[in-house]
Assembly symmetry: C2
Homo-oligomer: 357 residues x 2
């Protein structure tokens, strides 16, 4: 055989292999390309990190923020840290319907993961925190997250741990008194802005069509055609708007919620805000049960079913649910190592001057 | 100059440098060698891990034990794990005088670090736990650590997380029902037996005389000559015997303890056991304030002073304390990566079938 013949045979074999592969994956090459184009119009892959010109991810504040995130000593009894409700082992959640915070107080709403959370257009279910920095700063004196009466009490605890002084000086050079509530918020925010989890879906969005297994691609198709993307779109697959929970049916009838949360109405007293919550990001959703603002639903299958019912008035078949869940699983990325790995904190028993329990 | 002359000069310079280095380090070569020999007779370097023929550190049980250690879902309200009181960021402690456990219950005694703890001849301050496995198994139903009424409740929670089944099957192959309290204890124990922290002092004990800075070597000398080694010896620098706290003076007068703990007397009712506790290991002691069974002393300087006073009837000078503390700092090793880094746990909201808080 001459070279041309070999090339022709090789080419034919290659096309055959590709066709078989396409068939095996449930979509023809054209359909796969169309799905990718469609998805790229609706979603965006994760950036390297979530820093902005206003809130950059400079190494020194990030390192300081990471220490403060894992440190329980500044909360009222010294036993609750950011990592209590946002545990690395549980993908930045606590797997509870509602977190148990300081002094055994139950938080009014479910703790979402901190991973990729800086992407959200606003923070907390009610949207009453502007951004990661604002959330962190207010948490310093939060009734559930901290229990401290004021910022001064938090700052006194941190100052009592000698090892923090150089960390603040490096993070905020040139400031005479760098240990401030605002700087703590900035540092924790800077750290959180580094916590991205690139997932198979991001590889897909960047053009790698086979990064999603066939069932996930079928699920993506349904996720778009069924209308889920009306709210769950963009880089976070959610997290970019408010929406009423229960557009076509009262949510608590589907979720079995024991209490009715009025959503942003609680904040604004505007009837238009009744049962309105921030649409959550679906990144890592398979790793972060239970679901919804009250953690009332334990499994992802059930959560998908409930959403279709109360938001879209649709009843999904079991196959459709399986496919959509397969797509949602493709939103799981590995834990960032700076989150999975706890820093060794500067030592110090800060409560020694206070009542020892 | 010929080669011989150069060699002679080089040799002289080398000896001069060594002499200067020796003087700089505060000890002549002979003295340094004598100190090493003396130390080797009293202490032992850390082994690779703390497995035994009866309790080996086989990879599959270790991996399972690591997951269970970080998992809060099996405790009564799903919010407390082994890692709550033994936090990686705080060197396996919680930096509290007394831990706050399930349902906001305060533990009666201070939580020691879990690092190197499997070396201890017995577990808990009162010595009422045989070994790491026994401690872990009893903690499954501990009033402070778990709050679960019985092993069945713990096992039901673990069985509800699908991802645990294969981990147990791999860890305990051939067992029809591997999810048992005994196996959980074995797995957590196996994991804990891997948590060693080789420190500069271990390098010293292996013959590397300069692994300890001069002040630490001076402190080691004092630690031995002052009699601290009577109790703090062996591979753990403690952890191998019981001893009365307050040999020459009632301990609470020196520590300012607010409650008097009667020690093993509480267990045995034998007057000989009044105020008798397990001697703690001093490995990583600089990273694990506060100190003593009740966490009544916040700083290492003060703890050393108190010990000299109530155990040995000695008053140490400030210089002696500084030296001994420098030695104690040489007992700090880096966090093991399998401890610093949390595993990604199998997902599951196990409390969904129960009352959601």
């Amino acid at each position: 055989m001459n070279r041309r013949a070999i090339a022709a045979i090789t080419g034919t074999v290659l096309i055959a292999v590709l066709l078989v592969a396409g068939a095996f994956q449930g979509l023809g090459a054209e359909e796969a390309a169309a799905l990718l184009t469609q998805a790229q119009a609706v979603f965006k892959p994760l950036p390297q990190d979530m820093g902005t010109p206003e809130f950059p991810t400079t190494p020194a504040p990030v390192a300081l923020g990471r220490a403060l995130f894992f440190d329980p000593r500044w909360t009222v009894e010294g036993n609750v840290s950011c990592a209590t409700c946002h545990q690395p082992a549980l993908y930045g959640t606590d797997a509870l319907a509602k977190s148990i915070g300081v002094q055994h107080r139950t938080h009014p709403r479910h703790a979402p993961t901190v991973l990729n959370a800086a992407l959200n257009f606003t923070q907390h279910w009610w949207g009453d925190r502007k951004n990661a920095e604002d959330q962190a700063m207010q948490a310093l004196v939060g009734v559930f997250s901290s229990g401290q009466p004021d910022y001064a009490a938090v700052i006194a605890r941190i100052k009592a741990i000698e090892g923090y002084t150089p960390l603040f000086q490096q993070a905020f050079p040139g400031e005479a008194e760098p240990i401030t509530a605002e700087n703590i918020g900035k540092a924790i925010g800077a750290y959180e802005r580094t916590l991205t989890t690139p997932a198979p879906f991001d590889a897909f969005l960047r053009g790698e069509a086979t990064a999603l297994p066939p069932m996930a691609r079928a699920g993506l198709q349904r996720f778009m055609s069924r209308g889920c993307v009306a709210c769950h779109n963009g880089v976070g697959i959610g997290g970019q708007m408010f929406q009423k929970f229960g557009v076509v049916e009262e949510y608590w009838k589907a979720t079995g919620s024991q209490e009715i949360d009025k959503g942003r109405f609680g904040l604004t007293k505007d009837p238009a805000d009744l049962y309105v919550f921030k649409v959550p990001s679906l990144r890592n959703v398979a790793m972060t049960p239970p679901y919804f603002h009250d953690g009332s639903v334990a499994t992802l299958d059930e959560a998908v079913k409930v959403m279709a019912r109360v938001q879209l008035g649709s009843t999904l078949t079991d196959d459709e649910i399986r496919e959509i869940v397969a797509f949602l699983r493709s939103l799981t990325g590995p834990l960032p190592s700076s989150f999975a790995t706890a820093p060794a904190l500067p030592p110090g028993a800060t409560r020694s001057g206070e009542t020892l329990n």
